[in-house]
Amino acid sequence: MAEIRVENLQKKFGAFTAVENSNLVIEDGEFVVMLGPSGCGKTTTLRMIAGLELPTAGRILLDGEDVTMKRARERDIAFVFQLFALYPHMNVRKNIGFPLIAQGTPRAEVRKRVEETARLLRIDHLLDKSVSGLAGGDRQRVALGRAIVRRPKCFLMDEPLGTLDTEFRDLMVHELRELHNRIHATTVYVTHDQMEAMSMADKIAVMNHGVIEQFGTPREIYDRPRTMYVADFMGSPPMNFLSFNAGLAPGARKVVIGEAEIAVPEIREARSPADLALGVRPEHVRFDDASRLRGFVIGAEYLGTTQIISVETADGVIKARIPADQKVASGETVGLTLNAKRLSLFDKASGRAVETALYEGAHG
């Protein structure tokens, strides 16, 4: 059991508020990713959970026990940083066993735990090899082994893959998630990389200026963003926004932008006329000559299997992700249709989403 509960957590550095009134429950065995740009407060939150920073206000509970004021070493937590540095002069066995030996664990116990860990990571055949001769992936597994050999209640990881080549990073993302599926240790993982978050997390907390903007499963975060910030942070390219001014009535199933009537998920609230934004993801845009939502092509980015086409409309630029073999010429006037089931509406002043059928989660 290792549930982490963060209650009304706040951290100030002088006049600067790094973390503002955060609430978060990380359930036992969950893999939670704190995602956001640098300076958003994700690392500060992690360091408070670890006991490396004291909060200005609020509480942290570990399995129901208030640990807010406890020292880092009194919390049964492993803070993993520099995951991937190995001791080059030691073999695999010694590298993995090092944290246990440093703790004064008896030799027989070290041996047993190192072998268990190596089996878990499927490197037990390499135990007596020198780390300098290992292939990249195996080196990373050894480093991972050293991090998990202590079997703490939970792992806190601060951008552990940040410095790796993209190919290794993709490999290690899968490796970390598979490992989690085997040991189910509660994990809080901090990154600015949404692909890492989407690939590994059970739940993602998207942070912005010290505030948790949204906490939910990767699909909730991506498909049903609660704020324009989240909609924009997730996705590459991010969600497109078309600006318009209108009032909304419950039960309506369309909005009018310029000359185009656009079908949207059923609206659930009334709003007096205001500046709104219709949000659509690039993969939910299709080209359709019959559509009255029109614009002209201003650019194309080739990505191999797909391409991103930028279309300038009267109400904003829309980027569409379409197959790379579909021919589109720059300057061409095109019509666009948007996947009605997947559209979001936002109040531009507050940045918050309008309640619609989208948030009832019909598509999982």
């Binding site: 949404q194 690939s199 990767p218 942070f233 390219p237 080739y302 797909t306 790379a324």
Partner: protein, 340 residues
């Protein structure tokens, strides 16, 4: 005449051959990206052009001048490093102006002022010109570092993973920015990275480097659709190309000497199985947001493609898979078929 021509250049460090017999011409106004993993020889290549390393063999000409033995200061190049190194005690403005005040530069004060402000606008840092360099965010510092390279107008800009220290989000923005800036300036750029997305989105031509050798060079489309060999095929594409043995899927119509079949999303026809046609099963669908991956299994082989949202497949579904003009590789790993 600002072409950069590298002819048969080799460079070893002790027993390690970092660059082997490399030939490459970068035309004026061209954006060339060298793509390869750590240790492929990317940075060494840049350093050879900059004059920070001396080649063991071969020649380098910059703008028609044989630069092979010229010191760095005599070469008309500008280098952007992975780690931004700004002068911490100087303002953004002074940092940007610095290269223009170096010996050998002959711009007037007004010209320097104008060039600095122009560059600041290009890299979108004009609102912080008077800030001290240390009072900037990481992204802003890197923009200043790039700006400091752009403020000069050399024959070629050499860029060593300049975006790798940035947040993912900012990196995506900066890719587009950098490409826009390069086009606006008509600049010649040699850019090295291990990030295939950077290569695909910015390059006019991509050179694939492996163990010091240039394995293939061509437009992103050429490299992607007609890779020279298995190594190149595996470098590009997310999810990675499926490399499948002969006989796994119906392939009687493929060339007889094809030993490995390379199949990306666009090379496979996947449909929910009608009775009797099932060859594969959906393992799971990985929801990555903008690109959901369809994980399938044929016997004990895994196949991963982008999932087509219209196909509405779910874990456990049986499916039929057939090739659609896949890539074929012979026993030596070379692609069979017409060259790029």
């Amino acid at each position: 005449m600002a072409d950069v021509v590298i002819t048969a250049v080799s460079k070893s460090f002790g027993a390690a051959e970092a660059v082997k017999d490399l030939s490459l011409t970068i035309s004026q106004g061209e954006f060339v990206v060298l793509l390869g993993p750590t240790g492929a020889g990317k940075t060494t290549t840049l350093r050879l052009i900059a004059g920070l390393e001396k080649p063991d063999r071969g020649h380098i000409t910059i703008g028609g001048v044989d630069a092979t033995t010229l010191p760095p200061s005599a070469r008309d190049v500008s280098f952007v490093f992975q780690q931004y190194s700004l002068y911490p005690h100087l303002s953004v403005r002074e940092n940007l102006a610095f290269p223009l005040k170096a010996p050998g530069q002959s711009l007037s004060k007004d010209e320097i002022l104008q060039r600095v402000e122009e560059t600041a606008r290009l890299v979108r840092i004009e609102h912080k010109l008077e800030n001290r360099a240390t009072r900037l965010s990481g992204g802003e510092m890197q923009r200043v570092a790039i700006g400091r390279a752009l403020v000069r107008r050399p024959s070629i800009y050499l860029m060593d993973e300049p975006l790798s220290s940035l947040d993912a989000k900012l990196r995506a923005d900066m890719r587009l920015e950098l490409k826009r800036i390069q086009q606006d300036l008509g600049a010649t750029v040699l850019y090295v990275t291990h990030d295939q997305i950077e290569a695909m989105t910015m390059a006019d031509r991509i050179g694939i480097l492996a163990e010091g050798r240039l394995v293939q060079i061509g437009t992103p489309r050429e490299i992607y659709t007609t890779p020279a060999n298995l190594h190149v095929a595996a470098r590009l594409g997310q999810p990675a190309i499926n490399l499948l043995p002969r006989g796994l899927l119906p392939d009687a119509d493929l060339p007889p000497d094809a030993v490995t079949i390379g199949a990306r999303t666009e090379h496979l026809r996947i449909a929910k199985a009608t009775t009797g046609s099932a060859v594969a099963k959906v393992d799971w669908i990985e929801h990555l947001g903008d690109q959901d991956h369809l994980h399938m299994r044929v016997g004990d082989r895994k196949i991963v493609t982008l999932s087509d949202p219209a196909a509405e497949l779910a874990a456990g579904d049986t499916i039929s898979i057939a090739y659609r003009n896949p890539l074929c590789f012979d026993a030596a790993g070379n692609r069979i078929g017409e060259a790029a």
